[in-house]
Point group: C2
Chain length 367, copies 2
């Protein structure tokens, strides 16, 4: 594990190389991998979304690039300062900290005012550029962000010298930190990882001691997962070879959430090698399950236009091009019906446990 | 602390009393405090929203009430069964578990089909009715729901026999359980509680060790707080006399979030005596702060129509009828400007710490 000060050196050397060019009267040029849709590639062999080889060259003397160039240098300075001052700004702090108005006169003597950036989307994009260009991640820079993930189960972790045994949390849970790579995994005695889309279902399974009966690590990130949760699950799978099962609702949104855990996301394709878990299995409800589990029409919800549109998108994604998935998505588009995890309660309040055990033991999941 | 089986008795006896009436050939009648806006009262002395004395009588033989009567008995049965089976269903599980279609013939021989309930809002309302009628809370029934709160700081709690020292969590945090009343508070060595609206700011303050420098318990519920977080803060204030400070953005939404912690909410007014913390102080940004802290126009956001509407609502709420608040809200309505916590970063990334210390030490908060 590298320390924040080691990452500081990498950021500094990137900045120094730009300064050196200027001192040598050369044009400073930044080389940054292009984070565009066209440069996002489905890597069949690695089974994840990756960034392609396309690079953009941000030139200081290119008028079209000058603004972006300035923004990148400004953000680099802010991040370097934060590390030197030992603070952990949020991405929004950095947006505010760097936002100011530049006043300048044009050759005709007219005064202009321009903001360094107007929206947080601009400053966020610059942080991402610095991540791909320097290969130092936001987490490694010590930038703070929302963290959604929480866990319980037979795992002991160490954070800043403190040992935390997630099998001894009673009805509480352990909230993941922003930078899970600084979290040392001390001991794992689990047989698998169960990722639950919904927080209330997670709470249920904690209280019903499902995880201790199964020897499973239970994780939730409440909907679309954040970077920290995805990274932690990836580590459990990679470093401890734990099978990972993802339980979501039976609708295109749930299926997409699963694919983000498994294959990565378009937006963060440059991060897939850290965040994606290609081995993750889908344990949630499928379109077929409505019949298999005899879920009556009463518990089934009619799909709306957004669901339909999303399903059509899924069909086009290469990582859904598997017979199991195309069959399920087409069945969904035909029947136009979705179903939530909680609909399993129609067979009694304990049926969820049977469902989970049956799908895992009998390998009724989708890979 | 009562156990779940003791609460079961109270629920059973409420049901038995209805059955007894029927066996004695009397009409079963439920008496339920009315959870209506008109029966929600601002209790000036207790400084919280409370439910008034109005009661509704749900009569079995009243055609208008029959559906609700049936729903209430059905839900009572589901909850009693869940406790007997030792499961912890979510409110959505109960909705599904109880949803079915009743088929009946009218006197003319025509067949009708009616659902026990159509929307979760209906089944949720019935759970709330049972809460107020029996004085057994959802948490006490063992019903699961989303939990948003997490904490760090000098406090030791015990959950199901496991002791958790929230000062020894490193960069992780302790997620609260659904039923915080079953959480035993073993030891508290804090000087105050700081409630932070935003999760990313919470992460920052954890990593910058602000809480250990201050001996403070740090809490976040990420936006509008859930019942568990509100209850836990109330307990810290009531049982340990800890001052509670709430840090939110400087906009009507942030101010309202503060008031929910302090005075309770209209929807859960029957719960205020457990959930509200009338002593809570507002530590977030005010309209005046934009001038006080010299926050330039660059970092200030123009209020939109929803902000304006919300501010006008706040002015009408009796619990905002204090000179400090009416002045601030009117200033906001005049200037139409809002400001986020992160805007303090304009004075450097460490300024947030100075701001918090200054507001607390110099009593620059609003009560």
């Amino acid at each position: 594990m590298s320390t924040r000060s080691e990452f500081l050196k990498r950021l500094e050397s990137w900045g120094t190389q730009l300064a050196k060019a200027i001192l040598e009267l050369e044009e400073p040029i930044m080389e940054i991998p292009a984070r565009t849709l066209s440069n996002t590639i489905w890597d069949e062999k690695a089974r994840m979304l990756k960034l392609g080889p396309e690079k953009l060259h941000r030139r200081f003397l290119d008028v079209k690039e000058a603004r972006k160039f300035m923004q990148t240098v400004l953000m680099l300075r802010l991040i370097v300062e934060a590390i030197r001052e030992d603070v952990y700004p949020t991405i929004r702090d950095l947006y505010y900290n760097g936002k100011h108005t530049i006043v300048f006169k044009d050759p005709l003597g007219r005064t202009h005012r321009e903001n360094t950036w107007d929206e947080q989307s601009e400053s966020n994009a610059v942080i991402e550029d610095i991540e791909v260009a320097t290969n130092v991640l936001r987490e490694e820079m010590g930038v703070s962000a929302d963290v959604k993930g929480k866990i319980v189960g037979p795992i002991v972790v160490r954070s800043q010298g403190y040992e935390l045994d997630a099998s001894k949390f009673g009805e509480t849970a352990l909230s993941l930190p922003v930078n899970v790579d600084a979290l040392e995994i001390v001991k794992v005695e689990a047989s698998y990882v169960l990722v639950v889309e919904k927080d209330a279902i997670f709470q249920r399974l904690v209280r019903e001691k499902f995880w201790s009966q199964e020897g499973a690590i239970l994780v939730t990130a409440k909907g679309m997962p954040d970077r920290a949760t995805r990274r932690f699950i990836r580590r459990l799978n990679e470093e401890y070879k734990l099978p990972v099962y993802v339980l979501t609702d039976g609708d295109p949104y749930g299926w997409y959430i699963y694919s983000v855990y498994k294959s990565g996301s378009i937006k963060l394709s440059y991060e897939s090698e850290r965040l994606a878990t290609p081995d993750a299995k889908f344990l949630g409800l499928t379109a077929t399950d409505i019949d298999t589990y005899k879920i009556s029409d009463n518990y089934v919800i009619a799909a709306n236009d957004r669901d339909i549109k999303r399903a059509q998108e899924l069909l086009r994604y290469p990582w859904f091009q598997k017979p199991e998935w195309t069959r399920e998505i087409n069945l969904f588009l035909k029947k136009k019906k979705k179903v939530e995890i909680e609909a399993l309660s129609t067979h009694g309040l304990k049926f969820l446990h049977d469902y989970l055990r049956d799908k895992i033991r009998s390998k009724k999941f989708i890979d």
